[in-house]
Structures are given as structure tokens and as C-alpha cells.
């Protein structure tokens, strides 16, 4: 590496080197470049552009592993042949990693030698972020998240306005900053802005089921722009706010809302970002609703008669582990439910996860990738699609509109709230 290097490239390289851990060593020595991962990735299948092959997105890290950790690389350096790593070798991957990858993890499921390709792509993302090669939309989102508290710039004032409407519509009160409540619920900016019915549904369901819960004025935001952009420091800061809020209110469990990456950030990665385990549990709203259903605390009435299917949000199902719960919850209220051919942990991404939907530059690619979801929906000839992630919902609504499909997207929590029985039979 005897070249003049820019500061940003140096930062990126430092991260790449730091990210070569035992998994990376195992993965890169196992990969035989078979190309099976390409067939699992909707960015490849819908564009047929080989550069969107998942393992290809890890190329910057593979180069570092090869030149600094492999036998041939070390031998070459020892005898004076240095391999070049230019700025382009990192910068050219910005589009592939941020626009052409939604971190859906489908590739990690199919790799025959067991490479967690999505996990390795995230390492490359961190290097790109450190070097400053990130899309404008995500940079702005992280800044707003840090400074204002929400990637979309939503403040407590906005939340309070939404709460007011919900209280008026339902006649129930939304608890705020209630110390000692059992559950602290989080919201995603998307839900506050686009789907306030989610909060309304929560209020109704929790009242029906007799759940002790609260919102926090200091920590209402679930989303994590740090995770989206690939900056663990920012991600950790955002998680710490939630932890501080939960600790201040002394809640037992924090509820992650219908948002994919928020669940990943809070439930699975959060403790590692902040370096310590939580003094509380974290559940996804679907987990809680399913628990309540199993305990008989949610009584529903009536059934949806429309032909329905369920879109599995990648970060909640495949990368989050919540596969059975949405089916359990739909069973009592949907009489005409059909599974997508590829469903559950092998369902296809909506195309907008992992920060793609916040990246304006990726708009066209995202809509092309949506063709996969479109074909899944059309194959089933359903009347509506149910999902449990506000980002998926927003992305699919756009895709449906652009393709003139006339298929409504329904939120699962809302659907349950709509079918709540008058009064819970005690």
C-alpha cells in the first residue's frame, strides 16, 4: 500500500482492517465464488446486473483480507509486491452497498458454505461511512436523529399533536412518562408521520388487554439512523437514549414498533453497541400481541373476508426471528389467508430496507427491485397485503401505485385493533 492516500480512504481502510475478525477469515476462505447468492438477491434478479451479486458487494473487505491476512498477500508484501487499493476501490462500492443492498439477509440463508454475506456487507458499509462515502439522505438522517431525536426531524411537539388526535378519536388516554409502567412503547418516525393509526391501535389494544404501558417524552424514537448508515457510534448513542428513557421510567420491557431495522438495532445489536446488557427486556410489538393472544387477553370478533397474504419484513422475520407470531395473529381474523410461495424466513425483501428508502439516489433501483414483490403479489391474486413494518408498507404502497396495482397495504397491529371485541370477556 505505498500510495498517496486521502484521509477519508485512510479512515475507511482502518475500519476494513478492524473488521477482519474470525468470521471474516472463515467466510473468505470458504467462499468459492459459486454465485448462488446472486440468485437470492432481488437487486440481481430484477436487474440481471452481476455487480449486485451479494458477495461482490464485499469486495473491498475481501481485498484487504487477501492482501493482509492471506498467505499470497503476505508473501507478496514480503517480497515487495504491494497490491494497490485506490479510493475507487472503496468509493465505487457506495452505490452497490447503499443503493443495491437492503441488508435483507436472504443471501446469508442460501450460501452453501455458510457465509453470512449480509453481515459482511454491513462491515463494508461501516468502512464506507467512516470514509464519508454515504448517500446524502442517510447522512442527513443521522444528523437529524442525533440533533433533533428523529431522522425525519419529528419532535415531541409533533408526537403530542398525534397523541391529541388519538385521544380524541378513541376516547382513551395515551400514557406519557408513567414511572413504573410495565411496558415502554417506542414509535418510528414513519408511523408518527404516515401511519398514526398504529398508535391508535396500540391504545385500543392495550386498553382492551389491560396492559400497563407508557410512552417516554425523552425516548420515543425507535429508528436508528446509525445502523442504516453503518456508524456504530451513532447507533450506540441512539440506543443509549432508549436505555436511559427505559431506566428512568423503570419499565420491565421496551416494545419495538412495526419497524424492521429498529428491532434489529434495539433487540439484537443494541447491547453490543453500548457494551452492556439491558436491565430490561425488548420485545417486538408482534411478540407482545402474540403473547397476549395466547394468554387469552385479546378477544377478536369478525373476520377479514378479503383474500390476504403477509409480507415478511426482513429485519423482523428472517433477521429477527419473529416468524410464527404474525401467522398466529392473522389466523383468528383472516378467513382467506394465503402464504406467498416464498414466505417466512425465505420471503423476498420489499426493496426499501437497510436505508434504501431514505436514499433518493436509489429511487429507480428500488422501484425495479420492487418487481420481485410485484410478481409475488400478482401470482397470488390477493385483494390486500398485510405487513408489520411501516417502511415496508410505505415502500410497497409506492410500488403498488407506480405499477397501478390497486392493492391496499394493511398494518397487522391495525388489523387486530379493528377486530377487537367490544369488551374483553373476563
Amino acid at each position: 500500500m505505498g500510495e498517496q492516500m486521502s484521509e477519508s480512504l485512510e479512515k475507511g481502510l482502518a475500519v476494513l482492517r478492524a473488521e477482519v475478525d474470525y468470521k471474516v477469515k472463515s467466510f473468505f476462505s470458504s467462499c468459492v465464488n459459486c454465485g448462488i447468492c446472486a440468485e437470492s438477491c432481488l437487486f440481481y434478479t430484477e436487474t440481471r446486473d452481476p455487480r449486485y451479486t451479494p458477495i461482490y458487494k464485499t469486495e473491498p473487505l475481501r481485498k484487504i483480507w487477501k492482501s493482509e491476512y492471506s498467505f499470497w498477500g503476505k508473501l507478496s508484501s514480503a517480497i515487495g509486491i504491494s497490491s494497490s487499493f485506490t479510493e475507487a476501490d472503496l468509493a465505487d462500492w457506495e452505490e452497490l452497498v447503499y443503493d443495491g443492498c437492503s441488508m435483507c439477509g436472504r443471501c446469508s440463508m442460501v450460501c452453501p458454505v455458510g457465509v453470512d454475506i449480509s453481515g459482511v456487507i454491513f462491515k463494508v458499509k461501516q468502512a464506507l461511512a467512516a470514509a464519508g462515502f454515504s448517500p446524502e439522505g442517510l447522512v442527513g438522517a443521522s444528523q437529524r436523529a442525533l440533533e433533533i431525536g428523529s431522522p425525519m426531524g419529528i419532535t415531541l411537539t409533533t408526537v403530542q399533536a398525534v397523541i391529541k388526535h388519538v385521544e380524541e378519536d378513541t376516547g382513551l388516554s395515551v400514557p406519557m412518562d408513567v414511572e413504573g409502567a410495565e411496558y415502554m412503547a417506542l414509535l418510528s418516525s414513519n408511523e408518527i408521520a404516515l401511519y398514526p393509526e398504529y398508535l391508535e391501535s396500540l391504545v385500543k389494544i392495550f386498553d382492551h388487554a389491560g396492559v400497563s404501558w407508557t410512552l417516554s417524552s425523552k425516548a420515543f424514537e425507535a429508528t436508528n439512523a446509525g445502523l442504516q448508515i453503518g456508524n456504530k457510534a451513532i447507533a450506540g448513542q441512539l440506543v443509549q437514549r432508549v436505555v436511559d428513557g427505559a431506566e428512568a421510567l423503570k419499565v420491565k420491557t421496551v416494545i419495538s414498533p412495526e419497524c424492521g431495522h429498529a428491532y434489529t438495532a434495539l433487540r439484537w445489536e443494541g447491547p453490543n453497541y453500548i457494551g452492556k446488557a439491558y436491565p430490561f427486556k425488548v420485545v417486538h410489538i408482534l411478540e407482545l400481541l402474540d403473547e397476549l393472544r395466547a394468554q387469552g387477553r385479546i378477544q377478536t370478533t369478525g373476520m377479514e373476508t378479503d383474500r390476504l397474504t403477509f409480507h415478511d419484513p426482513c429485519s423482523i422475520v428472517r433477521r429477527g426471528g419473529i416468524q410464527a407470531q404474525p401467522r398466529n395473529l392473522l389466523e383468528p381474523i383472516a378467513e382467506n389467508f394465503v402464504e406467498m410461495t416464498d414466505h417466512g424466513s425465505m420471503n423476498w425483501c420489499c426493496g426499501g430496507g437497510g436505508g434504501v428508502s431514505s436514499n433518493e439516489r436509489a429511487e429507480e433501483l428500488k422501484l425495479t427491485a420492487f418487481n420481485k414483490k410485484k410478481s409475488q403479489i400478482e401470482e397470488l391474486k390477493v385483494d390486500a397485503v398485510v405487513t408489520a413494518c411501516s417502511n415496508c408498507r410505505m415502500v410497497m404502497e409506492e410500488g403498488v401505485e407506480v405499477n397501478e396495482m390497486d392493492i391496499p397495504l394493511l398494518g397487522l397491529t391495525e388489523l387486530i385493533a379493528e377486530h377487537l371485541a367490544e369488551k374483553r370477556a373476563d
Binding site: 474470525y22 472463515s26 470458504s30 448462488i36 440481481y44 440463508m109 442460501v110 452453501p112 455458510g114 426471528g321
Partner: protein
């Protein structure tokens, strides 16, 4: 002189490089320091890790139709090669006399020929796929091609020496085997061993989230 080298020092050298190289790499991977995961696991990581080592031998139903060539040719090649490496009579005898001191019942000659044919066909198809498919052409490295061709040459020299009547052919085969053993630890051939920890790591990652990967 050549016979002495190939049957003697070069054999021991190649064996040493192979064993030490493979062990070194595996130890570096398996015994490397790793940070614990502070999140609360939903499922059992260890049992998922072990399960994943075996479950990934069967491709997911959802993707199987798209990867037919890789699966069929891949198994033809790997199973054929495994069978002829460990159960062909000349190899069983070789292992008994030169390495292990004990042998086992080899497969009948016709099965040996069939395994070899399957291995050849599978490898030819796999390498041709690597050369014709645009994804493979983009991501394949020189190492991938060397490994395919070197393995093919080893198999071919073995086939050419099948009569076991000419020293030159036997030595050619043994020599290519020794080259293969020396190249092994520094190449993609390491996947022979590293697929196990890789599958285990990913199985554990998904398993603690409660997903069967």
C-alpha cells in the same frame, strides 16, 4: 532420481505443508478471540450451529430451481471425488501402506469407474459454468480457476495411470497430487474444511434469533 524425489522427500514435504497449513488456518479461525454477544438469545446457538453444518447440504426449496446446475454438477463432482479418493482400491492400498497402516474394503472396480466419471463430468460442467455465467465471470478469481484446473489435472493423471503398469504415469499422478497438497492450504480448496466453521458461525447467528437457517 525423479522417482526417488517424488516417492520420498517431495511426498513428505507436501504432506507436511498440507497438514501444517490446514491446521494453522483452522486454528487461526476457530481459536481466534471473539466478543460475546450481549443480547439475550431466543434460541440455542450451539445446537443451531451444529444443525446448520448439515442442513446446508440441502438447498432451500425457494432457490433450488435457479441453481440446478450448481447443485447437480456440484454433487456429482464432490460425491464422485470423495468416493474415489477414499474408496478406490489403489487409494485404499496407498493410504494403508503409506499413511495409516490400516485399510478398509474398497468399492468394486465398476463403482470406481462410475465415481470417476461422475467426478469428471461434474467438474467439467462446474468449471464451464464458471466460464460462461456473467456473475461467475465477475466474481471468480485466478485462484478459483487454478483450483478447478489443478484438481482436474490430478484426476486426469490418475485416470491415465489406471492400468497401474507404467511408472512414469504413476509418478506423474503422484507428482500432481503433491502439487495439489502444497497449494491446498493457500487456496480456495480450504473450503473443504472451513465450510464447517462458517456454517456453524452463521447457524449460531440465526439460531440465537430463533431462525432455522
Amino acid at each position: 532420481m525423479i522417482e526417488y524425489l517424488i516417492d520420498g522427500p517431495l511426498w513428505y514435504f507436501s504432506l507436511a505443508v498440507f497438514v501444517i497449513g490446514v491446521l494453522w488456518q483452522l486454528v487461526a479461525i476457530v481459536f481466534a478471540s471473539r466478543k460475546g454477544d450481549l443480547s439475550v438469545a431466543r434460541g440455542n446457538a450451539t445446537s443451531s450451529a451444529l444443525k446448520n453444518i448439515f442442513s446446508r447440504f440441502i438447498p432451500h426449496r425457494e432457490i433450488a430451481p435457479q441453481i440446478g446446475v450448481q447443485v447437480v454438477a456440484g454433487y456429482l463432482f464432490h460425491l464422485g471425488l470423495f468416493a474415489l479418493l477414499f474408496f478406490a482400491a489403489p487409494h485404499v492400498l496407498f493410504l494403508e501402506q503409506n499413511l495409516l497402516g490400516f485399510g478398509w474394503t474398497p468399492m468394486p472396480h465398476w463403482a470406481f469407474i462410475l465415481s470417476a466419471q461422475a467426478a469428471f463430468l461434474g467438474l467439467i460442467i462446474l468449471w464451464l459454468r464458471r466460464m460462461t455465467n456473467s456473475v461467475s465471470r465477475l466474481i471468480s478469481t485466478l485462484d478459483d480457476h487454478i483450483v478447478a484446473i489443478l484438481t482436474f489435472v490430478v484426476m486426469l493423471t490418475g485416470c491415465l495411470a489406471l492400468l497401474e503398469g507404467f511408472t512414469a504415469l504413476r509418478l506423474l499422478h503422484r507428482f500432481t497430487v503433491e502439487l495439489w497438497l502444497i497449494y491446498f492450504p493457500f487456496s480456495a480448496l480450504m473450503h473443504t474444511f472451513t465450510f464447517i466453521p462458517s456454517r456453524a458461525f452463521t447457524g449460531a447467528w440465526f439460531g440465537r434469533r430463533g431462525i432455522d437457517a
